[in-house]
């Protein structure tokens, strides 16, 4: 409030600022009128039946109804593992559980969703909605990170062949648009495979995403590697550490910590990019929404649906960003 008053006083002092007044006023009315219209639409005009009646489909897609508990358990486990990691726990048991959970979250997810070992098996084409988006993001991210780190190290290697291959791969992938890579994975790979041999569509999407993202991650990690002064390596080797030990204990911990902000960027980007799969017919969050919109009962409710999924994308994107910031703070406190 005080700032506002001071700003007004400042304005009064400068007589030449009438134009400023007008622009401010115009912009303010514009923003207010848009807001009023939106609120009016949101509470009065919008027909939210399309969301409420299809609620489970948005989140779980075509997943069989009597098995809904399986993806739900997985979501709860994800949230649990995030919550356990937010604060640095002194309790060692909790720490152990949280590490255990985050390592196992993907195998657990695939087991819970796909079934086997006593659970009814459900083919991956029936996975859909938000759960598919999340699984796609997590699997691709977890595959892309080690691949990216290896590529970054490869690019720093002074072995001619490894260096060239890593560089070629990174430059090649970065020069391609993501949609082309996805298109290749979804539609052209089956052309090369012998007839009868099929790779799961979900797997093909994960591979395409992780190959693409790894090139970007490699560059982020390389940035981290470059920020480490070479004297550290020299002192490490003077202490008698082996190559592997230098990478493991000196280079990577520091490089990755430096790279966290840009890696977060990649994670959020990857999450948002999964929506491209809707164009290629995978029923993730956006894909399933478009199919729901074709139901004759809900034609024309596109705005409600898109606002709804925009909120979901925003929420999860924000959670990823906040979580990464939290981890960054925890790591920095070691310094």
């Amino acid at each position: 409030m005080r700032v506002y008053i001071r700003w007004l006083q400042n304005m009064k002092l400068k007589r030449s600022n009438i134009l400023n007044y007008i622009i401010t006023l115009l912009l303010a009315t514009l923003i207010v009128s848009i807001l009023v219209q939106f609120v009016n639409w949101f509470f009065l005009e919008a027909n939210w039946n399309v969301i409420s009646q299809n609620f489970p489909i948005f989140f779980l897609g075509l997943y069989p109804k009597d098995q809904y508990w399986r993806p739900l358990i997985w979501i709860i486990l994800i949230i649990l593992s995030l919550v356990l990691r937010i604060k640095k726990r002194s309790n060692k048991r909790v720490q152990k559980i949280s590490i255990f959970l985050s390592v196992l979250i993907i195998p657990l997810g695939i087991f819970l969703l796909g079934g086997g070992l006593g659970l009814t098996s459900i083919p991956s084409r029936e996975w859909g909605g938000l759960i598919l988006t999340l699984l796609l993001t997590l699997c691709s991210g977890v595959l892309a990170l080690p691949l990216g780190i290896i590529l970054a190290l490869g690019r720093h290697s002074n072995l001619y062949f490894i260096n060239r291959i890593s560089r070629l791969y990174i430059e090649f992938m970065r020069a391609l648009p993501l949609i082309a890579v996805l298109f290749f994975g979804q539609l052209l790979i089956p052309l090369f495979l012998p007839i009868g041999l099929e790779i799961n569509r979900f797997l093909r999407a994960v591979i395409a995403f992780s190959f693409f993202t790894s090139a970007y991650i490699a560059e982020d990690v390389r940035g981290g590697l470059q920020s480490i002064p070479p004297t550290q390596i020299e002192s490490a080797s003077a202490l008698g550490l082996s190559q592997r030990q230098i990478i493991q204990f000196v280079l990577l911990p520091q490089a990755l910590r430096t790279a966290i902000p840009s890696l977060t960027n990649q994670a959020v980007g990857l999450f948002q990019n999964t929506s491209l799969m809707a164009i290629l017919g995978l029923m993730e969050l956006l894909g399933i929404s478009r199919s729901i919109l074709a139901n004759p009962n809900f034609i024309g409710n596109y705005l409600e649906v898109y606002v709804f999924i925009a909120i979901i994308y925003w929420l999860i994107g924000t959670v990823i960003a906040l979580f990464a910031r939290n981890i960054e703070h925890q790591l920095n406190s070691f310094k």
Binding site: I57, L187, P230, E234, A294
Partner: protein, 378 residues
């Protein structure tokens, strides 16, 4: 002195995974050649695997797999859409079910694959789907080897392109649309037809292109264009669901004929025959007045009556029509038991009681003034 050495070293790369002496670099270049040969062999292998495509029919693969991969739109009311219970519904979906009932014997053994218009033929060619049942217009360039190289089954829906306008715009014919904006879906024959007809009549228009029908409708409703064009079937669905449907009308003029037909990969006669005769069986069943309800009675009747040869052949009691196609002899009975005949499928999805009502018109049997006729199943 030591400092100097360290500073000089600063410019060297930070690390290496394994250190090899410099003279070994030549060897690693040599291995590049090896890699190239390996690559060449791998490519050659891919090449030979591709040649196998012609020898095995997809029909056998579908039967072995026990599942039909059917490409649908998933976004067209009345034709294919997702219901609240998470199941697909629509006339295109029922065609998939009928084909699955004919080939596999179980209409639930269908894996639906939602496709957008630009990717549908690639998906068919790559074997991503077995059958395309997605509102696809049957035309020469799609059917021919020089074009998309697919094989079309008989038309399941005779459609035509129309134009939807607001009544208040006082547009009564295409002529009145001179110099106005028109919303249209991109990458479809709709777009081409619109262009053709306006050029033919020397009229100007400004197209606003969208990816799918929902967006075209949205554009039209927001008033971004004076008119929207699409197949009349779709316009009927759109109009039925507009909040102010009485203020809109579909122009009388038809811009094109749009026979919508399922398709399968070209050069695979076994599969395309099976698909073709599945559709004909649906139409023939309506001609014979065999429905989902009376199929068992009809079978009993045919079994009892030796003289009714055509019915006996159709239902697989006599002859071996099915095995000629590589299907079971009672495939027609199996289809009708599961999906009903063509008329039933039509009424379920587009009939007067459905939420998207389109008068049958051209899609009636030839005996009722329509265009549907099935060659004899002999």
């Amino acid at each position: 002195m030591i400092n100097n050495v360290l500073q000089n070293k600063k410019n060297t790369p930070i690390t290496c995974i394994i250190t090899i002496p410099r003279r070994n670099i030549k060897q690693s270049i040599m291995s590049k050649k090896n890699l190239l040969t390996v690559l060449a062999i791998a490519l050659a292998c891919f090449g030979c695997s591709n040649q196998n495509h012609g020898t095995i029919s997809r029909l056998d693969i579908i039967q072995k797999r026990g599942e039909l991969k059917c490409g649908i739109s998933g976004k067209i009311p009345g034709f294919s859409y997702l219901q609240q219970n998470g199941k697909y519904q629509g006339i295109d979906v029922d065609i998939c079910k009928a084909i699955a009932a004919a080939i596999i014997g179980d209409p639930s053994k269908v894996q639906y694959r939602t496709l957008t218009a630009p990717e549908r033929f690639t998906a068919l060619r790559s074997g991503e789907i077995d059958v395309l049942s997605r509102n696809t217009t049957f035309n020469l360039s799609r059917d021919s080897i020089g074009g998309n190289g697919v094989t079309f089954a008989p038309t399941i829906f005779h459609d035509g392109q129309g134009i939807l306008v607001k009544k208040s715009s006082r547009i009564n014919s295409i002529k009145d649309l001179n110099n106005s904006t028109i919303c249209v879906g991109s990458g479809t024959t709709t777009e081409l037809n619109l262009n053709d007809i306006f050029q033919e009549r020397k009229l100007n228009y400004k197209p606003i292109k969208y990816q799918d029908l929902n967006q075209v409708v949205a554009g039209y409703r927001q008033g971004r264009c004076k008119a929207m064009t699409s197949d009349r079937s779709q316009l009927a669905a759109v109009k039925a669901n507009l909040p102010d449907r009485k203020n809109h009308k579909i122009l009388e003029e038809i811009l094109s004929k749009e026979p919508l037909a399922p398709a399968s990969i070209g050069g695979d006669q076994k599969l395309s025959d099976a698909v073709r005769w599945t559709i004909y069986a649906l139409i023939a069943a309506e001609e014979f007045n065999i429905t989902q309800n009376n199929i068992n009675i009809k079978i009993e009747l045919a079994k009892a009556d030796n003289t009714n040869t055509s019915l006996r052949r159709l239902l697989g009691i006599d002859g071996n029509l099915g095995s000629k196609l590589g299907l079971r002899n009672d495939f027609v009975a199996n289809i009708i038991r599961n999906t009903g005949n063509y008329g039933e499928i039509y009424n379920r999805n587009l009939g007067p009681k459905s939420s998207v009502t389109i008068p049958r018109g051209l899609n009636n049997l030839y005996t009722n003034g329509g265009l549907l006729i099935a060659p004899p199943l002999k």
